[in-house]
């Protein structure tokens, strides 16, 4: 099946749980947060949450940032609006 993870298409045998998806991507679940089709998934529900064809997943973590933009990480910003941010001057 094809899903989208952080805006990029990903081919993976499915359906998979969030736990399995994170393991597949070699991401430590303790330092990230996950959104499944625009809904935040609580960590205890990672096993029970099933990701299927066409689903949208966001996986985020904390990066350097003070006020307004996270320098050097702009292209990983959430959402379309964030693209505007990185084009601005610092």
């Amino acid at each position: 099946m094809t899903i989208r993870v952080n805006g990029e298409p990903l081919e993976i045998d499915g359906p998979v749980s969030i736990t399995a998806l994170l393991a597949h991507l070699r991401i430590d679940p303790r330092r990230v947060a996950v959104e499944h089709n625009l809904t935040v998934v609580k960590r205890p529900l990672y096993d029970a949450t099933s990701v299927s064809e066409g689903d949208e997943i966001e996986i985020v973590n904390f990066v350097g940032g003070g006020t307004s933009r996270a320098m050097g990480y702009g292209r990983w910003a959430l959402g379309a609006e964030a693209t505007v941010v990185q084009s601005g001057k610092s």
Binding site: I27, F62, G65, G66, T67, R69, A77
Partner: protein
């Protein structure tokens, strides 16, 4: 009169939403040349609260070091921010993800309204504040230096208000001294001046106006020597706080002699002045 030693020992914590912070300086994590320099600067700053941004995990390069490895979480409280969000919905979504990382239900709420100035969108900010307060967040909104919006944010349940001193990253210092003073006078929640500080004296000015704290990132991170600047900011915030508590003298247009006029070896006021 307290002596210097007792002032040092006297605890004067910044209290937000019932939580005490020993330092009134809040620092950022962006723009540093390296994570190691950032960690050194954080130590020198004495700060015990640090703000971090929320971004997508880099899926193609899993070797990147984690920012959290360079933050001493024994000492530092993590304040996630919604930097880069331009709508209330995006800010709320980002805040909810940040909370789910599991380190904090606090959020430095930013909803930017203009790309060039990075001024906040106050209408969207107020809306997002209401939503997140209802959702159980401790909300610290980054706002314009406008007393009316600060009042509305406080009424909406903000745990502190964070008026800007000047545009983010501008280093211009406190542009509207009078507004910051008015915001302090009217607010029942802590007032944190967020953004605009360029150097130590700017931080001292903010504190002398009665701000409860100062949040800064660029002024330290992009200084030629970030660690030394962090130490300077620590002293400036402390000095400004003490000056505020001490109560400054009124400004006056003319001189006022510090030495007694009695017992002068020449007679009378103005003696010896030419033309008198």
């Amino acid at each position: 009169m307290p002596n210097a030693q007792s002032l040092k020992m006297h605890s004067d914590p910044l209290v937000i939403a019932g939580r005490s912070f020993a330092s009134r300086l809040i620092v950022g994590t962006g723009k540093y040349a390296s994570h190691a320099v950032m960690a050194d600067a954080h130590r020198a700053s004495g700060a015990d609260m640090v703000t971090v941004a929320v971004r997508r995990v880099n899926l193609t390069d899993r070797t990147q070091e984690s920012l959290l490895d360079y933050i001493d979480q024994e000492r530092m409280f993590i304040l996630p921010n919604t930097a880069g969000c331009y709508t209330a919905d995006d800010a709320v979504r980002t805040a909810r993800l940040a909370r789910e990382v599991g380190l904090s239900n606090w959020v430095k709420l930013e909803v930017i309204g203009d790309e060039r100035t990075l001024f906040p969108d106050n209408i969207a900010l107020l809306e997002a504040t209401r939503t997140l307060v209802r959702d159980g967040f401790i909300v610290l909104p980054y706002t314009n230096d406008d007393p009316v919006i600060c009042k509305k944010l406080e009424d909406a349940g903000a745990a502190a208000v964070m008026p800007l001193g000047a545009p983010i990253g501008s280093g211009l210092g406190i542009q509207n001294v009078n507004n910051i003073r008015i915001i302090r006078d009217q607010s029942r929640v802590p007032v944190i001046v967020d953004a605009g500080v360029g150097t130590a004296s700017d931080a001292a000015v903010a504190m002398e106006l009665g701000a409860d704290g100062v949040l800064m990132n660029t002024a330290i991170a992009l200084a030629q020597d970030p660690v030394t600047m962090a130490a300077a900011m620590k002293l400036a915030v402390e000095a400004g706080r003490l000056a505020w508590k001490a109560g400054r003298i009124p400004r006056r247009a003319y001189g006022s002699a510090s030495s007694p006029l009695d017992g002068m070896i020449v007679a009378g006021a103005g003696a010896g002045r030419p033309g008198v």
